[in-house]
């Protein structure tokens, strides 16, 4: 493999890391509060507002049912509005974030719903406000689950990032399609696949390590 190709692989790896990292951060910033709200706003819950809960639930489901490649092209005008352009690595962050946010929201919602209702009752009995219950009880107690959820989301984003070549997003997936497939260079394809496997493996291991670190529950309860 020529030095030229190695430079290409190196650049593509950085582009993928950049897209995934920024969209994961933005997706978490948006998805975490959305997930918390979804988990606490059904009738009779802490932030009880059943109508808004239902509407947001529908929006989340709708966003999650659109195949990612269609989402990418369907929101091109929106991407242009946000990023100033609809083409390139930075522009690709917009659809990636839009795909990641509802996914992360659902994962966070599930993790928070796993928290024992007895803890909410105990916190209410202490005179906690709903905001205090969320910040001091629900999120810390759900942290192991949230961490594993975010790990899953990052792994999915690595997969999604391979599709943003469709709008000039570049990155590893794009390199694999353009060089490995269209120019028939199996060594490039193989290198791309290996790098992606290593990347996913690393993300998964780091995520599990952090989740275990923050998990103070008895061992039998671990890994929900």
């Amino acid at each position: 493999m020529s030095a030229n190709l190695i430079a290409l692989l190196y650049d593509a790896t950085l582009q993928t890391l950049y897209m995934v990292a920024i969209s994961a951060i933005l997706g978490t910033v948006l998805g975490l509060p959305l997930g918390v709200f979804l988990a606490t706003s059904q009738r009779g819950e802490l932030l009880s507002s059943p109508l808004l809960n239902k509407v947001l639930g529908l929006v989340v489901n709708a966003a999650r049912s659109v195949p990612f490649i269609i989402l990418v092209v369907a929101i091109i005008p929106f991407t242009r509005l946000i990023a100033g352009t609809s083409i390139g690595t930075t522009a690709a962050i917009v659809p990636l974030t839009i795909a990641a946010t509802p996914f992360i929201a659902r994962l966070v919602e599930n993790a928070i719903r796993e928290v024992d209702a007895g803890l909410i009752e105990a916190a209410r009995a202490m005179g906690a406000t709903p905001y205090q219950i969320i910040r001091k009880v629900l999120v810390p107690e759900a942290l192991p689950g949230i961490t594993l959820g975010l790990t899953l989301a990052v792994v999915s984003l690595i997969g999604y990032s391979a599709m943003v070549g469709a709008v000039g997003g570049e990155g590893l997936g794009d390199l694999g399609i353009r060089y490995g497939y269209q120019r028939f260079m199996p060594d490039v394809m193989l290198a791309v696949v290996v790098i992606l496997i290593v990347m996913v493996q690393l993300v998964q291991s780091i995520g599990e390590w952090i989740a275990a670190r923050v998990d103070k529950r008895a061992p039998r309860n671990r890994g929900n």
């Binding site: 005179g127 810390p140 103070k216």
Partner: protein, 353 residues
């Protein structure tokens, strides 16, 4: 105990009713016409079977449940009508401990006890001081930095108690706090509650389905059945002279005096013709609890006595005994009259041929 005790009521239930709208089953009444005063500094035990409504009753004291009608007052303040910041202020004056402890798995012993203080917005210096004191009070100095998963059940409940005391409440609610613990640990936790009651003058309202817990710790008790208070009063009085069948069935579990099966199966309510035995429950209370009354009954009256079952118990400092005896039915009334004259309580349970 409808009228307030001399020290004034810490908690007062006045004609409280609670009904739920259960889908498909119409209205379900969980509590009806509950009137009960709990005096400041008392330990009041509410006993009932599961589903009797005791949990709902307890949760009204800190507003986790709101009565459908009637009022619940704590320290003179109406809990049911309080909301927002007022309700949260009341809740800080009412500590609560739980059957399953409800500790945060993500926080250490120290962190769990600090939680209510963080919620109350205390400065961190004060929190540190208060938490350190509380950890010492419940004897968990060595476990301060452990997580709940590393503690035994008894230790977890100690953390729960320290956490409940953190905001220096006047009232402590105990929701089956010893039901998940083994008998030995139950005793140490009850001992801790007794100490807290004595040292801090804390009013404790506890619910349980175990009569032994009431006997061991409660100065007053109430029996709840089908959403109603069927009997209440000082624990000793209720134990010595239970009036309601539910109370008696709870008592038979703890005093260990049930009739032997071969007698219970043959017993009838009315006196049969011919020779028969009268089965009598004799309750020795107060100073007579240790007198050898049955020996005197035989010696002075010439009535021979069969002892069927019996036990002597202590409630606080007061001993009391329960005996099931049988005597010749022809001499039954003489025997009962003699025992009553000497300050014992008697009750005819039935006759055996």
């Amino acid at each position: 105990m409808p009228e307030p005790t001399s020290t004034g009521a810490a908690i007062r239930f006045d004609a409280v009713e609670k009904a739920f709208d259960a889908s498909g089953r119409g209205r379900v009444v969980a509590l009806s016409d509950v009137t009960l005063d709990i005096g400041a500094g008392d330990i009041c035990g509410i006993i009932g079977r599961s589903g009797a409504g005791k949990s709902t009753l307890l949760r009204m004291v800190n507003g986790l449940e709101v009565p459908t009608s009637g009022t619940v007052t704590v320290g003179g303040r109406d809990v049911g009508r309080a909301s927002g910041a007022d309700l949260r202020a009341i809740r800080r004056e009412v500590g609560m401990i739980f059957q399953h402890f409800n500790l945060l798995a993500s926080r250490t012993v120290y962190g769990n006890i600090a939680l209510p203080l963080e919620i109350a917005g205390l400065p961190s210096g004060q929190i540190k001081q208060r938490v350190t004191d509380l950890i010492a009070r419940v004897g968990l100095e060595a476990q301060a930095n452990r997580y709940p998963a590393e503690l035994s059940g008894g230790q977890k409940q100690r953390v729960g108690i320290a956490r409940a005391l953190a905001t220096q409440p006047k009232v402590l609610l105990s929701d089956e706090a010893t039901s998940a613990l083994d008998p030995e640990t139950t005793q140490t936790v009850l001992g801790l509650l007794r100490d807290i009651n004595r040292d801090l003058g804390l009013t404790i309202l506890l619910i349980t389905h175990e009569m032994a817990v009431v006997r061991d710790i409660a100065s007053h008790m109430a029996v709840i059945d089908g959403g109603r208070i069927v009997e209440s009063g000082p624990t000793y009085d209720v134990f010595v002279q239970p009036k309601h069948p539910t109370t008696r069935s709870f008592l038979s579990g703890v005093t260990g005096i049930t009739l032997p099966a071969f007698i219970a199966s043959r017993m009838q309510d009315s006196r049969p013709d011919g020779a028969s035995e009268e089965v009598i429950r004799v309750t020795f209370a107060g100073s007579h609890a240790t007198d050898p009354m049955l020996a005197k009954l035989t010696g002075e009256m010439g009535i021979s006595v069969n002892i069927l079952a019996g036990a002597i118990e202590e409630i606080g400092p007061h001993p009391f005994g329960n005996l099931l005896i049988s005597v010749d039915a022809a001499r039954g009334s003489d025997a009962r009259e003699y025992l009553q004259r000497h300050g014992l309580l008697t009750e005819v349970l039935g006759y055996v041929r």
